[in-house]
């Protein structure tokens, strides 16, 4: 099963290497990892998607908590949450195809962020399923380049994943 972990860490140099190194040497598999500072500039938040059964997940969580610069580890998987990824897709688009692509992009509430002579760049955010769907739809036109961020996630409702919140 895949788990989405929210990990609050000290915003110090080297902390990403500590987390990534730990996950590598304990033999856990990461599906994706996204990291950036929070509204508190001393704290960064990592969203880590790991694959594994409950035993594996328990070890990942406990080992992460042992790192001095890890402040909090929460498993969001078991609770109601939203998660999003962002993709940029450079798709072949000669002038004849442009309008068709723009229509499709609209359906996905995605955006065209660059128009070239023979290409368009599509920006889309959404959960994994939506990203997969938009990729499928655009594939027939010819995808020249594809880049996506790791997943970020947040609990629904008033619950928070913060240093003091639960």
């Amino acid at each position: 099963m895949r788990h989405t972990l929210a990990v609050l860490v000290e915003n110090n140099p080297g902390v990403l290497a500590r987390v990534a190194g730990l996950i590598r040497r304990r033999g856990f598999n990461i599906d994706s990892l996204a990291v950036g500072p929070t509204n508190d500039p001393t704290i960064s938040r990592m969203t880590i998607v790991v694959e594994g059964d409950d035993v594996v997940l328990e070890q990942v969580t406990k080992q992460l908590r042992k790192l001095i610069e890890v402040i909090k580890v929460s498993d969001l998987t078991t609770e109601e949450h939203v998660d999003r990824e962002l993709v940029l897709i450079k798709v072949k688009a000669d002038p004849a195809q442009r309008s068709q692509i723009i229509q499709l992009v609209d359906v996905f509430r995605a955006h065209i962020v660059d128009v070239g002579r023979e290409t368009l760049i599509v920006e889309a955010t959404g959960d994994e399923e939506k990203i997969r769907a938009i990729e499928e739809i655009l594939r027939p036109f010819g995808i020249k380049e594809f880049v996506r961020t790791g997943k970020v996630a947040m609990l629904r409702g008033s619950k928070t994943t913060s240093v003091d919140g639960e």
Partner: protein
């Protein structure tokens, strides 16, 4: 007052009551050494940085206080690495301070540059690269706090030369504040109550005690628990000394080279009380066949150890000493009347399967260790070992009765640990007899430290079990590789002459009748003494659980 970084570091060490540093100077660490020259801290110059790391480790294991080692950048720092890994595997509070090239030179493959914080990431509890002299005092405080609390472990501080040389106004950093670090102390009362209930129900309890007992100073509580519920106690290598080896309830060591009665008792138990242990493969043998009928209570300070290797029925996360006190209080509510059947069964095993070896006229290493025990049991003694057959024989035949009296490399199994560790022990325990039991292979991995012992008049006694082989490897070759002794025979130097060349005393013993007088002479001497015991060449450590087998399937 304006101080240089090096001075701030030394001032912090003094404030933290550091009495000794084991180290080796070099270019990048010079500003620190310059400050150290005026300090009220003893410096022991080892002959190799690895020796400094092991000496700090030995000092920490024997005294319970953090051990400090220091080296310069690059090769100085990388030479500490084995020592740091060793301390990490056995949860020993060591502070390693390394010089680093100046900040502007970092990342340019500068002379004597090594990314030591990167290298030691997986073998330190935490590490620091000091980027700003204003952070230094806080970092030193944090490092000692982290190393000595919770599950102890090594912490490295990497100090660039320009940071050590730059000046700042020294301000007391105040108490340590680490929001991501809150080591547990007390166990959850509900878990403790559940454990007490399991204990009250048990018919065949066994206590399996490890290094956590020694680290938390819980030996008295452990003894009280064992005596209250009349449970026999088997210790891991790291747990040796945590329960008196000569106590009637002692089963000695369990696992790969444990006593048969210890392994039989564990395998037949209906309740395993695991205290400060991590279910290491050398203990459990074949994991899914380990203690098949037992319910398991696991007490440990590190939550990540719970359920790592085995599933447990009750887990109590907390400091072993505190948890055992809680458990003892909880057990007062039960009327525990241990049956005698279990005691009798264990007594029968002890009688039928004692630790033994054949006496065939050759000089047997086990006999040497028994004589060392006989001559030192009534005086304050610490025994350090290297790694291999002699280490296992020491664990089997020397009955340690005090915690922190057996100093040995467990998790990492570092040959070359023994002599420098013994030097650290002797520095920390100047009034006690310190014996380093070694092998002819191990001793040569850090034999240069004999010079350190002579230099500082540290009268350690080195007993080499010299069989002309890398004995433990040869034993595996004999048993599992058709006696094909691939590159395990050693052509050795004359250890007696070598000892004398270093300025120590050297003795050679080839017959059993010479053992006692040689040891008496060595233990009387106020100098470092090396005794070369030329022992039976192909003696094996038995019992032995072949790798991958359940621990009740023992050879020998």
């Amino acid at each position: 007052m304006e101080l240089k970084g090096g001075e701030i570091l030394v001032k912090c060490l003094e404030e933290l009551d550091v009495e000794v540093i084991f180290g080796y100077p070099g270019g990048a660490i010079l500003p620190v050494y310059d400050a150290l020259y005026d300090a009220d801290i003893r410096h022991i110059l080892t002959r190799h940085e690895q020796g400094a790391a092991h000496a700090a480790d030995g000092y920490a294991r024997a005294t319970g206080r953090p051990g400090v080692c220091m080296a310069t950048s690059g090769p100085g720092a990388t030479n500490l690495v084995t020592g740091i890994a060793n301390a990490y595997m056995d949860s020993v509070p060591v502070i390693a301070i390394t010089g680093q090239v100046p900040r502007t030179m970092i990342g340019r493959d500068s002379f004597q540059e090594a990314d030591i914080t990167g290298i030691t990431l997986p073998i330190t509890k935490h590490n620091y690269l000091v980027r700003d002299v204003n952070d230094l005092a806080r970092i030193v405080r944090e490092a000692f706090h982290i190393a000595t609390t919770g599950r102890p472990g090594p912490v490295l501080i990497d100090l660039p030369r320009d940071v050590a040389a730059s000046k700042t106004e020294y301000r007391d950093p105040g108490p340590v504040k680490l929001r991501g670090y809150r080591p547990p102390v007390e166990g959850n009362p509900e878990d403790v109550a559940r454990a007490a209930r399991l204990i009250a129900e048990a018919q065949r309890p066994v206590i399996y005690a490890g290094g956590g007992v020694v680290n938390s100073g819980a030996h008295e509580e452990l003894r009280a628990l064992a005596e209250k519920i009349m449970a026999p106690v088997a210790t891991t290598l790291m747990g040796i000394g945590g329960f008196p080896g000569d106590h009637p309830l002692s089963l000695g060591m369990l696992g790969m080279h444990g006593a048969k009665y210890a392994n039989y008792a564990v395998m037949d138990s209906d309740l395993l009380i695991a205290v400060g242990v991590r279910f290491d493969d050398r203990v459990t043998g074949k994991l899914d066949a380990f203690a098949p009928e037992a319910r398991v209570i696991h007490i440990d300070i590190d939550p990540a150890e719970i359920g790592k290797n085995v599933r447990v029925n009750v887990a109590i996360v907390g400091d072993v000493k505190h948890v055992l006190r809680q458990l003892l209080r909880c057990l007062d509510e039960y009327l525990i009347r241990p049956g005698t059947a279990w005691q009798e069964k264990i007594a029968a095993w002890k009688k039928e399967y004692p630790l033994t070896y054949s006496r065939d006229g050759q000089l047997k290493p086990q006999a040497v260790i028994q004589e060392i025990y006989r001559q030192t049991r009534d005086r304050p003694t610490r025994v350090a070992t290297d790694v291999g057959q002699h280490q296992m024989w020491t664990a089997q035949y020397y009955l340690f009765s005090r915690p922190r009296s057996f100093i040995s490399s467990g998790g990492l199994g570092t040959m070359g640990f023994g002599l420098p560790a013994a030097i650290g022990v002797q520095v920390g325990c100047p009034d006690e007899l310190v014996v380093s039991i070694s092998g002819d292979g191990s001793i040569q991995m850090n034999i240069q430290e004999l010079c350190t012992a002579v230099n500082y008049e540290l009268p350690v006694k080195v007993a080499i079990m010299n069989n002309g082989f890398l004995g433990m490897v040869r034993q595996w070759q004999e048993l599992f590789y058709n006696r094909r002794y691939a590159y395990t025979e050693l052509i050795n130097p004359d250890f007696v002459k070598l000892a004398e060349a270093y300025g120590a005393e050297g003795l050679r013993v080839t017959r059993e009748v010479e053992v006692a007088p040689a040891l008496e002479q060595a233990f009387r001497s106020s100098k470092p003494v090396l005794i070369d015991f030329v022992v039976a060449r192909e003696e094996n450590v038995f019992p032995m659980v072949p790798p991958g087998e359940p621990i009740d399937k023992m050879l020998g």
